[in-house]
Subunit: 712 residues, 2 copies
């Protein structure tokens, strides 16, 4: 097992390196100028709101973690419970840090944008990079330290599944609770502000405006971060667990070590990608301290040349290219380094091909998502076209586009799974090796997470910066720049969602394979007696979950609407801008209702697998997971893409098409966008969590399930 | 095999009895009075339109059938091709007859309604009963005659799978093509008529009005009939095929015979149920020709007492009770007679329990559907409530209700499958017996199809009657009666959809089991190398199919809109009522575009299973079918119920709630209803066909598939 331990230590070191970057970058972002007093005041309100939300949420999470940890140590072992707690703390810590920086980077981005576009991008993206690298390194450090603590214990990997469960629990709160929070605040603020009172978006008179701004961060920083923290950890845990059961003890050590090494290599690659965006522009003709004739010197020169040069009049396409280059750059570096890693590990070169498959699949899904949701492409333009005949045709067309948009991601994932299993099988001759390869493909897809997540978590910072610029009446030039940064964020948010669901599926599949191994299931016949009921109930779960989260947004938004109306009625001078709105009450209401409304869907995700496992048996549970995975994948992609496409169809009309803002076409587009909001920001992304959480619960409790109440 | 042959002959005799009823009832319905000349003129236009549509569709079907039959006899055997042709003819014949009567019963219902409510119900329901009994008896006669023709041939049941494929092909045209036709005409007529020109629904000045009226029959008579013809035939074929592989040759004979006997018994029971609605009220105190003291006399007296008595001021609830009593009455008779049948067959009494499970499941799903779509219940009222905050919340709430409404049907079907497999397993000790039991549950669920289909196919007749009453300006009293009959039809249409999808799932599952047996698959591991890609692609198919059918409705409706606008522009005096609209062109456009738009989705349903079967192998194909079945079930229920609920939320507001017709709430509700139209009448029901057609194609070609291109 020496090789495995050595790999884990390398991963730990890279995790520590990542933390070093996070600390350095945090100081750097916070050292930026915060702009004028008006900006600072708004930013302070957002910061206060975010911390109110986080402290309330983390209190609830604390109670939840204690209860679940007690249950785990009661029914399983204290070690698993310990890992569960560590996983929860690691994920919550990364989320907290990411949020802490994001709500401070927004105002600094707005201020930096007054100095230039690239300067603004550098601050906002720098903040996203903190989230991205925090997720990656906290996850790596957590898992590797636990691995080393329990080293030598034959159940060490079993314990570490607890880490994944802990991460999943945080993801549940951050993604589902956060998703409800963000849309309740958004819809509530819009319904009274824009519709009833006729005041613009991001108007400081609106009592729900700060809750809305906080919500952007809650959803796309903390929520997305926790979601991908879970996928990242889950895919590594699954790969290591499956690897441990492969071949001789010696080859197993290589198989266990590989995912850690790939992740370690990913840290360097992500840092390279991040540098390409946030590095300072340099005159590469100027001599460096290193001579160009040495290898190190050439490397430094290469690195210096990679920094993106962004003109002040850069188009959305240019900015997108800059971000894309960073992700692609990181991918290329990962491929080079993992090739060396795979060769050095002594495993078949096929596993490198599998990493390639994973990376291509991840980027392929992101590309497909962009195609279906961008208003330069046919699908979204078709929706814009449909707005001319009213809201009904807008909805029908949007749903049709959402459904159609599932085809490519499904084919990509299906081919990736097939190729991975085939490559693994060809390498080591067993289907088990094939399933291990699927897990490695997942690790490969997520290896550059540090930078891909940076492109997502950057979005809300830019969005908030735009809001702050608007509310503090900065010059139109600055607002144009923040708008450009915001548009870019909307595009990366859409592709990020595609990537998140794609990686969730590969992770869940790997975890499922680990579950089947752990539960010692030998007959998984798809026509087995309890399998089909399991699959059907599983396929139903995403529908039930989505229905609950959509209704939750409705209820929570309703409460916000009442509060905002109340404030406009009782606070004198609020409408005139002389009265002070009470932002805190709106934040408190969003927080409370989000946490309350997530209880039922959240419990279902944990309880249903346990009930099915105990009542119908462990085979039915495998069926349940397959059903949820397949049906959830489809529904999540459909919802996310329909939502993104409606959003952009509206934005396209707002550029002046079909009569622009205020036209009948625009009104129809607003209906589509409003329907799309809970689709793309609450229900759709929440399904990632449902899929993974159900699977990890099953894996953690795998050994507890028998053959159920029905004897066959 | 004597027992099997004897059972088949009994089923044949009952089929012939059914045909006798159909002929008698057809004469009876056609003998009713056709009302005044204005009514006759409109009815003639509808009849002409229907026959134009049918002759065009049947010509295309004819070509399709010849091509497919040639392919089948080339790759498989001429016998299967022969059965395919017979299946297509039998289903098309039933559909033709049902349509023929329906478009003649509408005007007679309107005329009869002027004499009384029960009289109107009797004509409309009598027409539905013709469709119901034609489906049941044509299917039974077709299959039993083929069975007897090939008797003694060991592949006789394999050949008969061709009958199911033939029935499926007709269902594809009738449900998918018909679904596109009906909504294109409906949406097209409304968009120009109601929205642009401000003329009421069912206004004879609207050039698309006759196409719309024809469409009601195309969708809910021909479409629903062909859908259930396919389920009915498929479940019997699957049960017989699975039964043939069970136990010794002697017990196998009993197992093959059982589904035919259950179906035979169902014919009598359905006739009893139909009699309860359409029988003439009689003075039961009057002496009958049979003495009350004999068993026959008591039976006749009992029968005479069962006729529903419907008052002229009957509420919707009363009418519904009358129809429900007929279905429940038929179910009770089936249960009694099948108990005797099972005992006489010598198979385990568990198979009777399985029939009970099937009947309860079918009625349970229908009940759940009613709960979620009726405006007397909370879910639909919640949607009505959401109309007050606009179209967006109406859509969100409707989608949430649709998603939520999947829970009960899925649990019912899952429990029914689990119990059936368990009962079969307990009876004969193998999982194969359990799967046979699932097929028998499907046969049980569909045994009373003669009467349940009558309640569905009755709907469009009542709807058309209302339209004719409106267009020919009959008295308000008559229109009140036709409205009552129409409302009843809307409710039965919703529950009918639930029943159709539930039975489609059981049928598809039974066919899948038959496929697995026929393809000789022994390793169906859910984590097998090609299985998961198969499942994912399968789960994607319903989304792709729905996207295509929804877009098809949009395109076809667009063409109608242009034509209607054109006519209003060029025909002098059309708006004033002095010009003659050109109904035929609208009908021709609907027909052509429906047939054209169904080519892509229809081909996919046939081609994808074949491609997956050949490329990825027969195991992946099983995965594909499971994926399509589970994901399609969910999507179909969601779409059908969301559509039904939106429709009824609108109707509820039209009763005067929230400001009634013309209010903002009503406008929002209209958006919901318009989105719901293709959901519930095109895409949702089309999924039943997708699921079954893919399965039957796989079964027919089962022996042709190998292990695919990827070697494991």
């Amino acid at each position: 097992m020496f090789q495995a331990t050595a790999s884990v230590i390398i991963a730990l070191l890279m995790g520590i390196t990542g933390v070093g970057f996070v600390l350095w970058q945090t100081r750097r972002v916070l050292s930026y100028d915060q702009g004028n007093p008006a900006m600072r005041k708004i930013a302070a309100a957002i910061q206060e709101g975010a911390s109110a939300f986080l402290s309330r949420e983390y209190r609830v999470i604390g109670i939840f973690v204690v209860i679940v940890a007690t249950i785990i140590s009661w029914f399983l072992q204290w070690q698993t419970a310990f890992c569960f707690v560590v996983g929860a703390i690691a994920s919550a810590g990364a989320g907290y840090l990411g949020m802490y920086v994001a709500v401070r980077a927004n105002v600094r981005t707005a201020a930096a944008a007054s100095r230039g576009l690239h300067e603004g991008l550098r601050v906002a993206f720098g903040s996203g990079a903190i989230m991205g690298m925090a997720v990656v390194s906290f996850s790596l450090i957590g898992m590797t330290v636990l691995y080393l603590v329990f080293n030598g214990n034959p159940a060490q990997l079993t314990y570490i599944t607890g880490f994944g469960f802990g991460a999943s629990s945080i993801a549940l709160f951050a993604r589902v609770g956060g998703g409800i929070y963000t849309k309740a605040a958004d819809v509530g603020a819009d319904l009274v502000g824009k519709v009833e009172k006729g005041i613009p978006e991001d108007d400081p008179r609106n009592p729900a405006v700060i809750a809305d701004n906080v919500g952007d961060n809650v959803g796309d920083v903390a929520g997305m971060g926790a979601d991908l923290f879970e996928s990242y950890s889950g895919s590594i845990i699954a790969a290591a667990t499956l690897g441990a059961a492969l071949g001789t003890p010696q080859t197993a050590a290589a198989f266990i070590g590989l995912p850690f090494l790939v992740a370690a290599v990913g840290v360097i690659s992500s840092l390279f990608g991040i540098y390409m965006v946030i590095g300072e522009e340099q005159d590469v003709t100027k001599a460096s301290t290193f001579s160009d004739s040495t290898a190190l010197g050439r490397a430094v020169l290469f690195l210096r040349k990679q920094v993106a040069k962004i003109n002040e009049d850069a188009s959305l396409e240019d900015l997108l290219t800059a971000l894309r280059r960073s992700v692609w750059g990181a991918s290329v570096v990962v491929l080079g380094l993992t090739l060396l890693t795979v060769i050095a590990s002594g495993v078949s070169i096929n596993y490198w091909l599998v990493i390639l498959v994973g990376l291509i699949a991840g980027n392929g899904i992101a590309y497909a998502t962009e195609y279906y949701t961008s208003y330069t492409e046919k699908p979204t333009l078709g929706i814009a076209d449909a707005t001319q005949t009213g809201a009904a045709t807008t909805i029908i067309q949007g749903l049709a586009v959402g459904m159609m948009s599932t085809v490519l991601p499904v084919l990509i994932v299906a081919v990736a799974i097939l190729l991975s299993i085939w490559l693994g099988f060809k390498a080591d001759g067993t289907i088990a090796a094939g399933l291990y390869a699927v897990a490695v493909a997942g690790v490969g897809m997520l290896s550059t997470l540090g930078v891909t997540l940076a492109t997502d978590a950057y979005g809300p910072v830019a969005d908030n910066a735009g809001g702050i610029a608007e509310m503090s009446h900065l010059s139109s030039e600055v607002r144009q720049r923040t708008d450009a940064l915001d548009s870019l964020g909307n595009t990366t948010a859409a592709t990020g969602k595609g990537f998140a669901i794609g990686s969730a599926i590969l992770t869940a599949l790997a975890l499922l394979a680990a579950y089947v191994t752990a539960a010692k299931i030998d007959n998984l016949n798809i026509l087995g007696p309890t399998m089909l009921p399991g699959i059907l109930i599983g396929a139903m779960m995403p529908y039930l979950f989505s229905a609950l989260t959509m209704m939750a947004v409705g209820k929570a938004a309703h409460e916000i609407v009442f509060e905002v109306r109340r404030q406009f009625n009782v606070i004198p001078g609020l409408m005139e801008g002389t009265g002070e709105p009470d932002y805190k009450t709106c934040i408190a209401i969003s927080t409370e209702s989000a946490l309350r409304e997530m209880i039922v869907p959240g419990s279902l995700a944990v309880v249903v697998p346990l009930v099915v496992g105990f009542v119908l048996g462990k085979e039915a549970l495998a069926g349940l997971l397959v059903g949820t995975m397949s049906s959830g994948f489809l529904l999540a992609v459909m919802m996310a893409n329909a939502g993104g496409a409606w959003d952009n169809a509206k934005k396209w009309i707002e550029t002046g098409q079909f009569g622009g803002k205020g036209s009948d076409a625009h009104k129809a587009a607003v209906v589509g966008d409003t329907v799309g909001d809970p689709f793309k920001d609450t229900s759709g992304p929440s399904l990632n969590i449902l899929i993974k959480l159900m699977t990890i619960v099953s894996l953690v409790f795998a050994t507890s399930f028998g053959s159920g109440w029905f004897s066959f």
